[in-house]
Protein backbone atom coordinates (compact mmCIF):
# COMPACT_ATOMS: atom_id res chain seq x y z
CA UNK A 1 0.00 0.00 0.00
CA UNK A 2 1.25 3.47 -0.85
CA UNK A 3 3.15 5.07 2.01
CA UNK A 4 2.92 8.75 1.21
CA UNK A 5 0.65 10.42 -1.32
CA UNK A 6 2.42 13.80 -0.93
CA UNK A 7 5.75 12.11 -1.69
CA UNK A 8 4.27 10.51 -4.81
CA UNK A 9 2.94 13.89 -5.96
CA UNK A 10 6.28 15.62 -5.39
CA UNK A 11 8.17 12.90 -7.28
CA UNK A 12 5.68 13.18 -10.12
CA UNK A 13 6.08 16.96 -10.19
CA UNK A 14 9.83 16.51 -10.65
CA UNK A 15 9.56 13.71 -13.21
CA UNK A 16 10.36 15.74 -16.29
CA UNK A 17 12.27 18.76 -15.11
CA UNK A 18 13.92 20.47 -12.17
CA UNK A 19 11.81 22.78 -10.08
CA UNK A 20 11.75 24.68 -6.79
CA UNK A 21 9.29 24.30 -3.94
CA UNK A 22 6.98 27.10 -4.95
CA UNK A 23 6.57 25.75 -8.46
CA UNK A 24 6.06 22.21 -7.21
CA UNK A 25 3.22 23.36 -4.95
CA UNK A 26 1.71 25.45 -7.76
CA UNK A 27 1.97 22.57 -10.25
CA UNK A 28 0.21 20.12 -7.93
CA UNK A 29 -2.51 22.64 -7.22
CA UNK A 30 -2.94 23.41 -10.91
CA UNK A 31 -2.87 19.80 -12.14
CA UNK A 32 -5.42 18.74 -9.53
CA UNK A 33 -7.76 21.50 -10.61
CA UNK A 34 -7.36 23.19 -7.24
CA UNK A 35 -8.41 20.08 -5.31
CA UNK A 36 -4.99 19.44 -3.79
CA UNK A 37 -3.06 22.07 -1.92
CA UNK A 38 0.43 21.25 -0.73
CA UNK A 39 1.05 23.32 2.37
CA UNK A 40 4.55 24.62 2.94
CA UNK A 41 4.68 22.90 6.31
CA UNK A 42 4.32 19.59 4.49
CA UNK A 43 6.21 20.40 1.33
CA UNK A 44 9.62 21.51 2.57
CA UNK A 45 10.20 18.85 5.24
CA UNK A 46 9.08 16.32 2.63
CA UNK A 47 11.50 17.68 0.03
CA UNK A 48 14.37 17.48 2.51
CA UNK A 49 13.36 13.99 3.55
CA UNK A 50 13.27 12.80 -0.07
CA UNK A 51 16.65 14.42 -0.63
CA UNK A 52 18.10 12.62 2.38
CA UNK A 53 16.86 9.34 0.93
CA UNK A 54 18.54 10.09 -2.39
CA UNK A 55 15.30 10.22 -4.38
CA UNK A 56 15.76 13.85 -5.33
CA UNK A 57 18.80 16.12 -5.44
CA UNK A 58 18.69 19.77 -4.45
CA UNK A 59 20.96 22.54 -5.57
CA UNK A 60 21.08 26.26 -4.88
CA UNK A 61 20.64 28.31 -8.03
CA UNK A 62 22.23 31.74 -7.96
CA UNK A 63 21.01 33.96 -10.77
CA UNK A 64 22.56 37.36 -11.13
CA UNK A 65 20.34 40.06 -9.67
CA UNK A 66 17.88 37.56 -8.21
CA UNK A 67 17.49 35.88 -4.88
CA UNK A 68 18.94 32.35 -4.74
CA UNK A 69 16.42 29.55 -4.99
CA UNK A 70 16.88 25.88 -4.26
CA UNK A 71 15.89 23.68 -7.17
CA UNK A 72 15.32 19.94 -7.06
CA UNK A 73 15.57 17.21 -9.63
CA UNK A 74 14.67 13.55 -9.62
CA UNK A 75 17.61 11.15 -9.30
CA UNK A 76 17.78 7.84 -11.13
CA UNK A 77 16.68 6.15 -7.95
CA UNK A 78 13.85 8.66 -7.68
CA UNK A 79 12.68 7.75 -11.17
CA UNK A 80 12.66 4.06 -10.26
CA UNK A 81 10.81 4.74 -7.02
CA UNK A 82 8.28 6.90 -8.83
CA UNK A 83 7.51 4.08 -11.26
CA UNK A 84 7.08 1.64 -8.38
CA UNK A 85 4.91 4.06 -6.42
CA UNK A 86 2.75 4.78 -9.46
CA UNK A 87 2.12 1.07 -9.91
CA UNK A 88 1.37 0.80 -6.19
CA UNK A 89 -1.04 3.67 -6.38
CA UNK A 90 -2.88 2.11 -9.33
CA UNK A 91 -3.33 -1.11 -7.37
CA UNK A 92 -4.36 0.82 -4.28
CA UNK A 93 -6.88 3.02 -6.13
CA UNK A 94 -8.34 0.03 -7.98
CA UNK A 95 -8.75 -1.80 -4.68
CA UNK A 96 -10.47 1.14 -3.03
CA UNK A 97 -12.75 1.54 -6.05
CA UNK A 98 -13.74 -2.11 -5.88
CA UNK A 99 -14.46 -1.88 -2.17
CA UNK A 100 -16.55 1.21 -2.64
CA UNK A 101 -18.44 -0.28 -5.59
CA UNK A 102 -19.08 -3.57 -3.78
CA UNK A 103 -20.09 -1.63 -0.71
CA UNK A 104 -22.58 0.27 -2.81
CA UNK A 105 -23.98 -2.92 -4.37
CA UNK A 106 -24.33 -4.55 -0.97
CA UNK A 107 -26.08 -1.50 0.36
CA UNK A 108 -28.47 -1.49 -2.60
CA UNK A 109 -29.35 -5.16 -2.22
CA UNK A 110 -30.10 -4.97 1.50
Amino acid sequence: MIKSVPALLVLKALERDVSHGYRIASWINQKSGGALEMKEGTLYPLLHSLEAKGLIAGEWRHDQGQRPVRVYRLTDRGHRTLRQEERGWETFARGVDQVLQKGGVAHDTV
Partner: protein, 283 residues
Protein backbone atom coordinates in the same frame (compact mmCIF):
# COMPACT_ATOMS: atom_id res chain seq x y z
CA UNK B 1 4.12 38.85 12.08
CA UNK B 2 7.21 39.82 10.12
CA UNK B 3 8.91 37.41 7.71
CA UNK B 4 11.85 37.29 10.12
CA UNK B 5 9.62 36.17 13.01
CA UNK B 6 7.89 33.63 10.79
CA UNK B 7 11.15 32.09 9.60
CA UNK B 8 12.64 32.02 13.10
CA UNK B 9 9.59 30.23 14.51
CA UNK B 10 9.34 27.82 11.57
CA UNK B 11 12.94 26.67 11.97
CA UNK B 12 13.14 26.75 15.77
CA UNK B 13 13.23 22.94 16.06
CA UNK B 14 16.07 22.32 13.61
CA UNK B 15 19.14 21.42 15.68
CA UNK B 16 21.76 22.26 13.08
CA UNK B 17 22.39 25.99 12.56
CA UNK B 18 23.61 25.38 9.04
CA UNK B 19 20.52 23.41 8.11
CA UNK B 20 18.23 25.96 9.78
CA UNK B 21 19.88 28.76 7.79
CA UNK B 22 19.33 26.88 4.52
CA UNK B 23 15.70 26.14 5.34
CA UNK B 24 15.09 29.81 6.26
CA UNK B 25 16.59 30.87 2.96
CA UNK B 26 14.43 28.39 1.07
CA UNK B 27 11.24 29.41 2.89
CA UNK B 28 12.10 33.07 2.31
CA UNK B 29 12.47 32.52 -1.42
CA UNK B 30 9.07 30.78 -1.40
CA UNK B 31 7.59 33.69 0.56
CA UNK B 32 8.99 36.26 -1.85
CA UNK B 33 7.75 34.38 -4.91
CA UNK B 34 4.30 34.22 -3.35
CA UNK B 35 4.47 37.91 -2.49
CA UNK B 36 5.49 38.83 -6.04
CA UNK B 37 2.57 36.87 -7.44
CA UNK B 38 0.15 38.66 -5.11
CA UNK B 39 1.59 42.02 -6.10
CA UNK B 40 1.09 41.10 -9.75
CA UNK B 41 -2.54 40.46 -8.86
CA UNK B 42 -2.92 44.02 -7.59
CA UNK B 43 -2.09 43.95 -3.87
CA UNK B 44 0.26 46.60 -2.49
CA UNK B 45 3.59 45.34 -1.07
CA UNK B 46 2.52 45.51 2.58
CA UNK B 47 -0.72 43.64 1.96
CA UNK B 48 1.05 41.15 -0.29
CA UNK B 49 3.66 40.42 2.38
CA UNK B 50 1.01 39.87 5.07
CA UNK B 51 -1.06 37.72 2.74
CA UNK B 52 1.98 35.67 1.69
CA UNK B 53 2.92 34.98 5.30
CA UNK B 54 -0.64 34.00 6.12
CA UNK B 55 -0.79 31.63 3.15
CA UNK B 56 2.27 29.78 4.46
CA UNK B 57 0.23 28.50 7.40
CA UNK B 58 1.28 28.25 11.01
CA UNK B 59 5.04 28.42 11.61
CA UNK B 60 4.50 26.09 14.56
CA UNK B 61 3.20 23.41 12.18
CA UNK B 62 6.27 23.76 9.99
CA UNK B 63 8.53 23.63 13.05
CA UNK B 64 6.76 20.46 14.18
CA UNK B 65 7.43 18.78 10.84
CA UNK B 66 11.08 19.80 11.09
CA UNK B 67 11.50 18.32 14.55
CA UNK B 68 13.87 15.69 13.18
CA UNK B 69 16.29 13.74 15.33
CA UNK B 70 19.86 14.97 15.71
CA UNK B 71 22.13 13.21 13.25
CA UNK B 72 25.43 14.93 13.92
CA UNK B 73 28.36 12.95 15.16
CA UNK B 74 28.42 12.37 18.88
CA UNK B 75 30.76 10.41 21.04
CA UNK B 76 29.62 6.83 21.55
CA UNK B 77 29.57 6.43 25.32
CA UNK B 78 29.44 2.65 24.91
CA UNK B 79 33.10 2.89 23.94
CA UNK B 80 34.00 3.94 27.46
CA UNK B 81 32.91 0.52 28.63
CA UNK B 82 34.80 -1.22 25.85
CA UNK B 83 38.17 0.48 26.39
CA UNK B 84 38.95 -1.34 29.68
CA UNK B 85 38.25 -4.59 27.87
CA UNK B 86 40.81 -3.62 25.25
CA UNK B 87 43.41 -2.75 27.87
CA UNK B 88 42.74 -6.04 29.65
CA UNK B 89 43.07 -7.86 26.36
CA UNK B 90 46.43 -6.27 25.59
CA UNK B 91 47.80 -6.98 29.06
CA UNK B 92 46.57 -10.57 28.83
CA UNK B 93 48.16 -10.95 25.45
CA UNK B 94 51.53 -9.90 26.82
CA UNK B 95 51.39 -12.02 29.95
CA UNK B 96 49.01 -14.87 29.30
CA UNK B 97 49.17 -18.37 27.93
CA UNK B 98 47.58 -19.94 24.91
CA UNK B 99 43.90 -19.58 25.66
CA UNK B 100 44.33 -16.15 27.14
CA UNK B 101 46.33 -15.13 24.13
CA UNK B 102 43.58 -16.15 21.76
CA UNK B 103 40.87 -14.52 23.81
CA UNK B 104 42.99 -11.41 24.04
CA UNK B 105 43.69 -11.30 20.33
CA UNK B 106 40.07 -11.73 19.37
CA UNK B 107 38.95 -9.32 22.06
CA UNK B 108 41.46 -6.75 20.86
CA UNK B 109 40.27 -7.06 17.30
CA UNK B 110 36.65 -6.76 18.39
CA UNK B 111 37.60 -3.70 20.44
CA UNK B 112 39.47 -2.15 17.54
CA UNK B 113 36.60 -2.85 15.18
CA UNK B 114 34.01 -1.48 17.59
CA UNK B 115 34.89 2.24 17.26
CA UNK B 116 34.85 1.92 13.49
CA UNK B 117 31.45 0.28 13.55
CA UNK B 118 30.04 2.75 16.04
CA UNK B 119 31.38 5.84 14.33
CA UNK B 120 30.38 4.50 10.97
CA UNK B 121 26.81 3.96 12.14
CA UNK B 122 26.80 7.37 13.79
CA UNK B 123 27.99 9.07 10.65
CA UNK B 124 25.16 7.47 8.74
CA UNK B 125 22.56 8.53 11.30
CA UNK B 126 22.06 4.94 12.36
CA UNK B 127 22.65 5.36 16.06
CA UNK B 128 19.52 3.50 17.09
CA UNK B 129 20.30 0.53 14.87
CA UNK B 130 23.88 0.51 16.13
CA UNK B 131 22.56 0.32 19.68
CA UNK B 132 20.33 -2.57 18.69
CA UNK B 133 23.12 -4.33 16.85
CA UNK B 134 25.37 -4.05 19.90
CA UNK B 135 23.26 -6.83 21.35
CA UNK B 136 24.43 -9.02 18.49
CA UNK B 137 28.05 -8.11 19.17
CA UNK B 138 27.62 -8.92 22.86
CA UNK B 139 25.91 -12.21 21.99
CA UNK B 140 28.71 -13.09 19.57
CA UNK B 141 31.37 -12.29 22.13
CA UNK B 142 29.59 -14.29 24.83
CA UNK B 143 29.19 -17.24 22.49
CA UNK B 144 32.87 -16.97 21.63
CA UNK B 145 33.86 -16.97 25.29
CA UNK B 146 31.75 -20.03 26.08
CA UNK B 147 33.05 -21.87 23.04
CA UNK B 148 36.62 -20.97 23.88
CA UNK B 149 36.32 -22.35 27.40
CA UNK B 150 34.60 -25.48 26.10
CA UNK B 151 37.17 -26.18 23.41
CA UNK B 152 40.05 -25.45 25.79
CA UNK B 153 38.66 -27.81 28.39
CA UNK B 154 38.77 -30.72 25.91
CA UNK B 155 42.33 -29.96 24.89
CA UNK B 156 41.82 -27.80 21.88
CA UNK B 157 42.54 -24.13 21.57
CA UNK B 158 39.90 -21.50 21.07
CA UNK B 159 39.79 -21.22 17.32
CA UNK B 160 36.02 -21.34 17.25
CA UNK B 161 35.98 -18.50 19.73
CA UNK B 162 37.87 -16.49 17.20
CA UNK B 163 35.19 -17.13 14.63
CA UNK B 164 32.46 -15.89 16.91
CA UNK B 165 34.29 -12.88 18.21
CA UNK B 166 35.68 -12.05 14.84
CA UNK B 167 32.41 -12.13 12.98
CA UNK B 168 30.38 -10.47 15.73
CA UNK B 169 31.07 -6.93 14.48
CA UNK B 170 30.46 -7.93 10.87
CA UNK B 171 27.15 -9.47 11.82
CA UNK B 172 26.29 -6.21 13.50
CA UNK B 173 27.17 -4.24 10.39
CA UNK B 174 25.06 -6.62 8.34
CA UNK B 175 22.19 -6.07 10.73
CA UNK B 176 22.63 -2.28 10.57
CA UNK B 177 22.59 -2.29 6.78
CA UNK B 178 19.58 -4.56 6.71
CA UNK B 179 17.81 -2.20 9.08
CA UNK B 180 18.78 0.72 6.88
CA UNK B 181 17.43 -0.92 3.76
CA UNK B 182 14.21 -1.78 5.62
CA UNK B 183 13.73 1.76 6.86
CA UNK B 184 14.82 3.42 3.64
CA UNK B 185 13.66 1.30 0.72
CA UNK B 186 15.50 3.63 -1.63
CA UNK B 187 18.83 2.23 -0.45
CA UNK B 188 20.07 -0.02 -3.23
CA UNK B 189 20.10 -3.45 -1.70
CA UNK B 190 22.82 -4.58 -4.07
CA UNK B 191 25.21 -2.04 -2.56
CA UNK B 192 24.36 -3.22 0.93
CA UNK B 193 25.07 -6.82 0.06
CA UNK B 194 28.23 -6.04 -1.88
CA UNK B 195 29.53 -4.05 1.07
CA UNK B 196 28.72 -6.78 3.53
CA UNK B 197 30.04 -9.47 1.25
CA UNK B 198 33.34 -7.62 1.25
CA UNK B 199 33.25 -7.43 5.05
CA UNK B 200 32.77 -11.17 5.28
CA UNK B 201 35.58 -11.86 2.86
CA UNK B 202 37.88 -9.59 4.83
CA UNK B 203 36.89 -11.25 8.07
CA UNK B 204 37.50 -14.71 6.68
CA UNK B 205 40.85 -13.72 5.18
CA UNK B 206 41.98 -12.08 8.39
CA UNK B 207 40.99 -15.14 10.38
CA UNK B 208 43.00 -17.40 8.11
CA UNK B 209 45.94 -15.03 8.41
CA UNK B 210 45.69 -15.11 12.18
CA UNK B 211 45.52 -18.89 12.20
CA UNK B 212 48.55 -19.20 9.94
CA UNK B 213 50.50 -16.66 11.96
CA UNK B 214 49.83 -18.39 15.27
CA UNK B 215 50.43 -21.89 13.90
CA UNK B 216 53.70 -21.11 12.15
CA UNK B 217 55.19 -19.63 15.33
CA UNK B 218 57.05 -17.20 13.12
CA UNK B 219 56.05 -14.28 15.25
CA UNK B 220 55.62 -16.19 18.49
CA UNK B 221 52.59 -16.08 20.73
CA UNK B 222 53.64 -13.13 22.78
CA UNK B 223 53.76 -10.55 20.06
CA UNK B 224 50.98 -8.12 19.49
CA UNK B 225 51.98 -6.44 16.27
CA UNK B 226 50.61 -8.77 13.56
CA UNK B 227 47.29 -8.96 15.35
CA UNK B 228 47.04 -5.22 15.76
CA UNK B 229 47.90 -4.74 12.11
CA UNK B 230 45.13 -7.11 11.10
CA UNK B 231 42.63 -5.43 13.42
CA UNK B 232 43.56 -1.97 12.23
CA UNK B 233 43.41 -3.10 8.61
CA UNK B 234 39.92 -4.40 9.15
CA UNK B 235 38.78 -1.19 10.78
CA UNK B 236 40.30 0.99 8.10
CA UNK B 237 38.84 -1.25 5.42
CA UNK B 238 35.42 -0.96 6.99
CA UNK B 239 35.66 2.81 7.03
CA UNK B 240 36.99 2.88 3.48
CA UNK B 241 34.20 0.69 2.20
CA UNK B 242 31.59 2.69 4.08
CA UNK B 243 32.93 5.92 2.63
CA UNK B 244 33.15 4.34 -0.80
CA UNK B 245 29.51 3.36 -0.47
CA UNK B 246 28.54 6.85 0.70
CA UNK B 247 30.67 8.31 -2.07
CA UNK B 248 28.81 6.30 -4.68
CA UNK B 249 25.54 7.49 -3.18
CA UNK B 250 26.78 11.07 -3.27
CA UNK B 251 27.73 10.74 -6.92
CA UNK B 252 24.36 9.23 -7.73
CA UNK B 253 22.49 12.10 -6.09
CA UNK B 254 24.70 14.98 -7.21
CA UNK B 255 24.98 14.32 -10.88
CA UNK B 256 23.91 17.88 -11.60
CA UNK B 257 27.48 18.92 -10.89
CA UNK B 258 28.57 17.22 -14.04
CA UNK B 259 28.26 18.47 -17.56
CA UNK B 260 25.87 15.69 -18.47
CA UNK B 261 22.91 17.28 -16.71
CA UNK B 262 23.94 20.92 -16.71
CA UNK B 263 22.10 21.80 -19.94
CA UNK B 264 18.91 20.52 -18.32
CA UNK B 265 19.36 22.93 -15.43
CA UNK B 266 20.20 25.85 -17.68
CA UNK B 267 17.12 25.10 -19.74
CA UNK B 268 14.98 25.12 -16.63
CA UNK B 269 16.48 28.36 -15.37
CA UNK B 270 15.52 30.04 -18.62
CA UNK B 271 11.98 28.67 -18.25
CA UNK B 272 11.77 29.90 -14.69
CA UNK B 273 12.69 33.41 -15.80
CA UNK B 274 9.33 33.63 -17.52
CA UNK B 275 6.65 34.07 -14.81
CA UNK B 276 3.82 33.45 -17.22
CA UNK B 277 5.28 30.18 -18.39
CA UNK B 278 6.06 29.04 -14.88
CA UNK B 279 2.46 29.62 -13.81
CA UNK B 280 0.78 27.97 -16.74
CA UNK B 281 3.12 25.05 -17.41
CA UNK B 282 5.68 24.79 -14.64
CA UNK B 283 7.10 21.43 -15.59
Amino acid sequence: MTPYDFLEQATATIPSNRQAREVRQELLSHLLLKQAELEENGLDPTQAEAEAIQSMGSPADIAEDYAIPETRLKFGWALVGVIPLGITAIVSLENGGNILMWLAVMGTIAVIAEPGRTLNGRLRGLWHTVQKSSIIVAAGAAAGLVTALATFSIGSWGAVAGLFEFFGPWLAVLYSCWQRSSEHPATPLSMVWVTNGAFWLMGGSAYLLLHATASSRVFGYDTLHPMVVVGLSLTISEWALAHLWDGVQWLRTHQTRFAKSRPLILRTISQADSPTQSRTEPL
